[in-house]
Amino acid sequence: MRLRLLTFLIPATLLLLAQASAATAPDGAVQAPGPVAIPRAPDGKPDVSGIWQVLNTAAWDIQDHSAQKGVPGGQGVVEGNEIPYQPWALARKKENYAQRADVDPEAKCYLPGVPRLMYMPFPFQIVQTPKELTILHEYVHTVRYIFTDGTPHPPGPIAWWLGDSRGRWEGDTLVVDVVHFNDATWFDRAGNFHSEALHLVERYRLLDADHIQYDVTVEDPKVFTRPWNMSMILYRRREKNVQLFDYECYGFDWEKYYPYPEMRPPQ
């Protein structure tokens, strides 16, 4: 009897311990007690293909913020909530915020840049092949390539809206190095910004079949005093027959002029 009780208690204790460690995982993500099955590509790498979307409010403000008219309040995605701006840059960020309705590059329909593109409130689809990941965004039909064939960044300087992304697998984590940016994109609608010296290291790790832990280290010695981190979860869109639609953005009064009146049939 006692022996039987022990055989019950030991696994139960182990299970409790496992759950306790799950609750205190350092990155705050829920950890399963055992190995979790994740989808894998034929080459054995984790398979991150599918349609994904964030469920946070970072598009409005990557830091903690209260709600305003048209802006959902929410917890930020910046670790520690502090962005280590240099003094001049903090002043510029405040200026950007004050003028955001006019000077936000998103308002001009420009490509929103990386990582902003990843947490816009629109879905995106990852198509994975051994050579590259192609990310198709519903927002302004942006196409982003992450080359995973071991090729280096092309020599710069190159000023791209989305930068140049080269990825490699470290175990089951996809680590992506992104450089060659321009200085024209922001991080959010709250005026957080960077220079063309921006350098990102993104980490994509499947927590299970339907969740990607997405972490970004942001480095820009012209604007910040030290590197800082963002962390969030990408959720798989699991609705039946889910597909991307489109969100075209145009900085002029499209509906007033198109379809071209003479393309319409006679009334």
């Binding site: 092949t129 039909h141 989305l162 007033k256 071209y260």
Partner: protein
């Protein structure tokens, strides 16, 4: 990079439309023989059974300006270069079978394209808006095909346009939804990909003002006679604009499998409205 590649593509377009060059409707073997990638051979199959047609493609003879009377740009420099035959294979006269009102509209739009005085005279392609289907299969810049289980993806080197075609037999989206690239559903029959596209927006097809309305339905057949050549055909059915369905054909050939780099379009471009003319010759 993309500019270089664009020039390269244009150069090849010029090369193949010279006197005695391959005419429209040429055999696929000839198109394939000009491809610079691996030798033609039977198409390998992917794990999900799709023929592997991945890579970069572009038209042997594009049709940006006109489908019916495609004047090669080289004709600007060399008057002996003759227009190519119509891209339209049905009806047999090679003309778009417009209803009378639509034929008049097309003519006006062609005139307004040459002499734009109002914002709506500007082709939406020049505003970097998505040109839709089948127009993007007739432009000079390359397109890239990526396949993954249950779908085929087309990505264009210009306008960062893309199109995801599910192959799993799912139903179309609701007809009231209108999408810039339409809503395509595909299936393979041997080496032919058949795509049925609904939910299109009204789009222009050429610079000379050809167009269809949002009531159009587009049936495409992409046939690979070999690993390096593809025949693109699109049949447009639109009872609002045309008297009958009609079909275009544009041969495509494989291009070197280069990385596609960023091609921002709208960003930083001059406002096309500033090029509008103050006056224009009268419409005919």
């Amino acid at each position: 990079m993309s500019t270089t590649r664009l020039i390269g593509a244009a150069g090849i377009a010029v090369l193949v439309v010279g006197p005695g060059g391959p005419a429209f409707g040429q055999g696929p073997q000839e198109a394939g023989s000009r491809a610079s990638a691996s030798a033609p051979g039977p198409l390998e199959r992917l794990a999900d059974g799709q023929p592997n047609v991945q890579g970069v493609w572009n038209p042997v003879n594009a049709g940006s300006l006109s489908l019916t009377n495609p004047v090669p740009q080289a004709a600007d420099f060399d008057p002996t270069i003759k227009p190519l035959p119509s891209r339209i294979i049905d009806p047999p006269d090679g003309l778009v079978p417009y209803q009378p009102w639509a034929a008049a509209r097309q003519k006006l739009q062609g005139h307004d394209y040459a002499y734009p005085t109002k914002p709506e005279h500007i082709d939406t392609q020049h505003r970097c808006l998505l040109s839709g289907v089948p127009r993007l299969f007739t432009i000079v810049p390359s397109l890239k095909i990526i396949q993954s289980p249950g779908q085929i993806v087309f990505i264009w080197d210009s306008y960062h346009a893309y199109r995801v075609i599910p192959l799993d037999g799912r139903p179309h989206v609701a007809p009231n939804v209108k999408l810039w690239m339409g809503d395509g559903r595909g299936r393979w029959e041997g080496n032919t990909l058949i795509i049925d596209t609904t939910s299109v927006k009204g789009q222009r097809l050429t610079y000379i003002g050809d167009f269809y309305s949002e009531n159009a339905r587009i049936a495409e057949r992409l046939t690979w006679p070999s690993a390096n050549s593809m025949i693109y055909e699109a049949t447009i059915t639109d009872p609002t604009v045309f008297t009958r369905p009609w079909t275009m054909r544009v041969a495509q050939r494989r291009r070197p499998d280069e990385e596609m780099w960023e091609t921002a379009c709208y960003e930083g471009m001059a406002n096309p409205d500033q090029f509008l003319l103050k006056s224009a010759p009268g419409r005919q």
